[in-house]
């Protein structure tokens, strides 16, 4: 047992060490423009150690940027769930609905956020100042919706016939069947979808901020690339990674709670 616990800690650390070593070697040999790990830390220290400081619109502590990004993601993600879950239910319940909309869903699903964003900006051009935010929200929602839609549909189709027979024998009304049987039975699938959707929403944020120039981790990354401060690109990548990992863990915990036996 003890050996196992030690492995669980040491083995991942070996992985980190190897990647950092590769990074160091690369920056010292073939990729001269790539800042070394120590240089990256030097340049990022202020942003990490004073994470909430605001020095200017595009010069803020890293957690402050993260907070902006999370707010935008939360809104877009919420939109995705609110729209995606009912669509998933309709797909799962109605074969006709599936025949009508499944092909178009399969075609829209693989479209990259980079392609959606310009369309979002065009759509909300009339909105003036908030056009970039609405465009970003549109992009996050439409890109991150699909796992929720598809998993919910699969979950609804997988509701055991036994449960539906119970509902029929008791003559539960449609609404009662939905809330007392279908939704609880589908929840585990829905939450798998929610977790995957959140992962995508977080992926999309960077693209959305880059193209709209909004303050946030992605916006900061793009600005620092243009300002030739390459250290901060790496800082942003690491931040995005850690936050994404954290969000996924969080959702896994919630998802685990809904696993009914």
């Amino acid at each position: 047992m003890k050996r196992f616990r030690l492995d669980a800690l040491i083995l991942p650390l070996i992985g980190f060490a190897l990647v950092i070593a590769a990074w160091y070697v690369s920056s010292a040999t073939w990729a001269k423009e790539l800042p070394s790990p120590s240089k990256t830390w030097e340049a990022s220290r202020d942003y990490v150690l004073k994470p909430f400081e605001k020095r200017g619109e595009m010069d803020q502590g890293i957690l402050r940027f993260t907070w902006y990004s999370l707010q935008l993601v939360a809104k877009g993600y919420f939109l995705a769930l609110v729209i995606g879950t009912p669509i998933g239910f309709l797909l799962g319940l109605s074969a006709t609905f599936t025949r009508i909309f499944d092909p178009i869903i399969q075609i829209l699903r693989p479209v990259s956020p980079l392609a959606w964003l310009p369309l979002g900006l065009v759509l909300f051009m009339g909105a003036g100042k908030s056009a970039s935010e609405l465009g970003a929200l549109f992009t996050i929602a439409i890109c991150s919706m699909w796992p929720t839609v598809l998993n919910t549909a699969v979950g609804v189709r997988a509701v055991p016939q036994d449960y539906l027979n119970v509902a029929r024998v008791l003559k539960l009304s449609r609404t009662k069947t939905l809330f007392k049987v279908l939704i609880p039975a589908t929840l585990p699938y829905m939450f798998t979808g929610f977790r995957l959707s959140l992962g995508i929403a977080w992926l999309v944020i960077v693209a959305a901020e880059m193209l709209t120039g909004r303050p946030g981790v992605g916006g900061f990354l793009w600005q620092e690339y243009n300002a030739l401060v390459y250290e901060h690109i790496i800082l942003c990548i690491l931040t995005i990674g850690f936050v994404g990992f954290g969000l996924d863990r969080l959702m896994s915990v919630i998802e685990g709670r809904f696993k009914t036996g």
Binding site: Y163, N165, R168, V169, L170, A185, L187, T260, G261
Partner: protein, 302 residues
């Protein structure tokens, strides 16, 4: 007509890739009020199909007879028939209590919330789950889950009870316990009951009459056996009664021979006895407990 349940000229045909398959043909049966009737037959002969048509979960063929319960022709399922399924079919996110209450709320919607809770609690206590009211199905044994299933059916105060091999998944000790629970509850209410089983002893212990179905396809009533034992029945006394063994032999003879010959089929040749130490003697595998029933399967299960 004073029968509680009248099944007349019932037929059921399933479409298959090889053309329509008539599973049940011209099935007739009348149940008196308060009568307990068991339906036995080979697996796949259409027993459960008959039951599921009475439950309203599957539709009989058009223009092919009908089912009348307490003077009214049935169409579709409803809580006037308490159904105990083969798998307990409890909703896993609800406690035992809430599973029962779901049905009670549905039937006694005019009663106060307190009264409804009392009804659910009463039936769960009667089936011996007074201490496990607020446990979820995953925390209960298979036998306890089926107790909840029984409580749920009785708590509806239905016009009749339909039981689809309710104890088929249980070990024999638990099965006997639950048969007793069922008889005890049934003795209180004297609900008309129709139960599908393939356990001959179970049928003899529980039923007033045993309906033997011929082999499928086109299964129908082959013969009906009256079970003369007075109630309350004592299992031990029953096992010492030579009449019990005579009836038992008759039922088994029906299943082994007449279920086929009545249909003009050849009964399967008796299998040669298996030597005690051969691997085949111990190859019995118990039926799977968590049977996932796909929508298309459910109606063909018999």
């Amino acid at each position: 007509m004073s029968h509680q349940l009248e099944i007349s000229a019932l037929s059921k045909t399933f479409p298959t890739p090889h053309g329509p398959l008539v599973v049940v043909r011209d099935f007739n049966l009348h149940l008196e009020k308060g009568e307990f009737v068991c339906l036995i037959g080979h697996s796949g002969c259409g027993k459960s199909t008959v039951l599921s048509m009475v439950a309203g979960l599957s539709e009989p063929d058009d223009n092919a007879g009908g089912i009348i319960l307490a003077g009214r022709e049935l169409s579709g399922p409803g809580p006037d028939r308490g159904v105990v399924f083969q798998s307990p079919s409890l909703l896993p996110w609800l406690t035992a209590f809430d599973n029962v209450l779901l049905g009670v709320d549905q039937v006694f919607y005019t009663a106060s919330a307190g009264e409804r809770r009392q009804i659910a609690e009463y039936y769960l206590t009667v089936v011996g789950l007074g201490d496990a009211l607020h446990k979820r199905p995953t925390e209960l044994s298979q036998g306890m889950r089926q107790r909840v299933g029984i409580a749920r059916a009785f708590a509806l105060s239905p016009r009749m009870l339909l039981l689809d091999e309710p104890f088929g998944m249980l070990d024999s000790l638990t099965r006997m316990e639950l048969q007793q629970v069922l008889v005890d509850l049934w003795t209180r209410n004297h609900l008309t009951a129709l139960m599908v089983t393939h356990d001959v002893d179970e049928a003899l212990f529980l039923a007033d009459r045993i309906v033997m179905m011929t082999n499928g396809p086109e299964a129908t009533v082959g013969d009906i056996l009256k079970v003369p034992f007075p109630r309350p029945r004592d299992r031990k006394a029953l096992l010492e009664d030579p009449e019990f063994y005579r009836l038992r032999a008759e039922l088994i003879e029906f299943l082994e021979v007449r279920a086929y010959t009545l249909k003009g089929q050849q009964p399967p040749a008796p299998k040669p006895p298996v030597p005690p130490n051969s691997p085949a003697a111990s190859s019995y595998t118990p039926p799977r407990q968590d049977r996932a029933v796909l929508p298309t399967q459910v109606e063909t299960l018999a």
